[in-house]
Amino acid sequence: MEPRRTSALILEELKRRRASEQIVDVDEAQIKLVIFALLDELYAFPGTDVREILPLGKISYVPGAPEYVLGVINVRGDIESVITIHRFLDLPEGRRTPKSRIVLAAKDGVRSGVLVDSIEDVVDVPASRVTPPLSILDDARKELVTGAIEYRNRNVTLLDIGKVFAKISA
């Protein structure tokens, strides 16, 4: 029997892999995540809660606003608030750098910009990869965390921005 050509074997293998990927796509729900950094830690918002990622421009301070409200920005004629979530996660304030971004998030009818130290990636991951929040989290964090994933050998904490908004509005 004539040995099969290497190219045919490769093509066959590729076809098999593709078929298996397609099966995964059909069976497994994917979630989009916007992964960002706060200091040295990685966090993510669900893509469904993110409207836009904006460069860091001038933030105009509003007198009387609490510490975690940085001010307002002009987004094509609309005024949006900008908050920092560091203190809700017990983190020291980050420094504003050229990599800083404002994630314009919306949930439960509330919308605001969130200042982050950098955007790491926007990825689609299988929902099954999301693990429950660590039980060792303190109460303040536990309230805001919905789960975790591993991303490039690093832990990414998934946050519910709606819970942050609710805390501020309470």
Binding site: K58, S60, Y61, V62, P63, G64, A65, P66, V69, V72, N74, G77, D78, I79, E80, S81, I83, V110, R111, S112, F165, I168, S169
Partner: protein
Amino acid sequence: MTEHTSAHGRPPDTLPVIVFTVKGVRMGTEVRQVSELLDVREAEARALKTARFDEYIRVRGPAPPAEGRRALVVKGGPVPRGIVVDAAEDVTDIAVESIRPIPPLIASASASRAVWGVAIRDDGIIVLVDVSELGRDAREAAGPQGAPATEV
């Protein structure tokens, strides 16, 4: 916000405001809420009750040197009172269509009702303040003599 409507009960097209700064933050208040704009020394000479703007509403940042401070004399109230600001820049008409409300997240988190909007201008943002609301809670608690103004 103080009611400000045209003869037909509709908002005007423009709002005349006095633009002032406190700790570098540009703010504006309706001209008609202010009876006079005084040098602080003159306010002292008149023994007017005055208080710095940031005694009513916290403003972050370092205070600039005292030179050039002005007192906005607020209309109404049981006694005339002056609100001291770092500088008064200009009197200008702001197009009402350039005014936006304070975003709900800030409105719900802020202790004061005095900050009511934001005007978008080519040269930046002006925070709109109803100066008659400043210290209203404290004045209501203090009764007809008013608070928290101090003699200068």
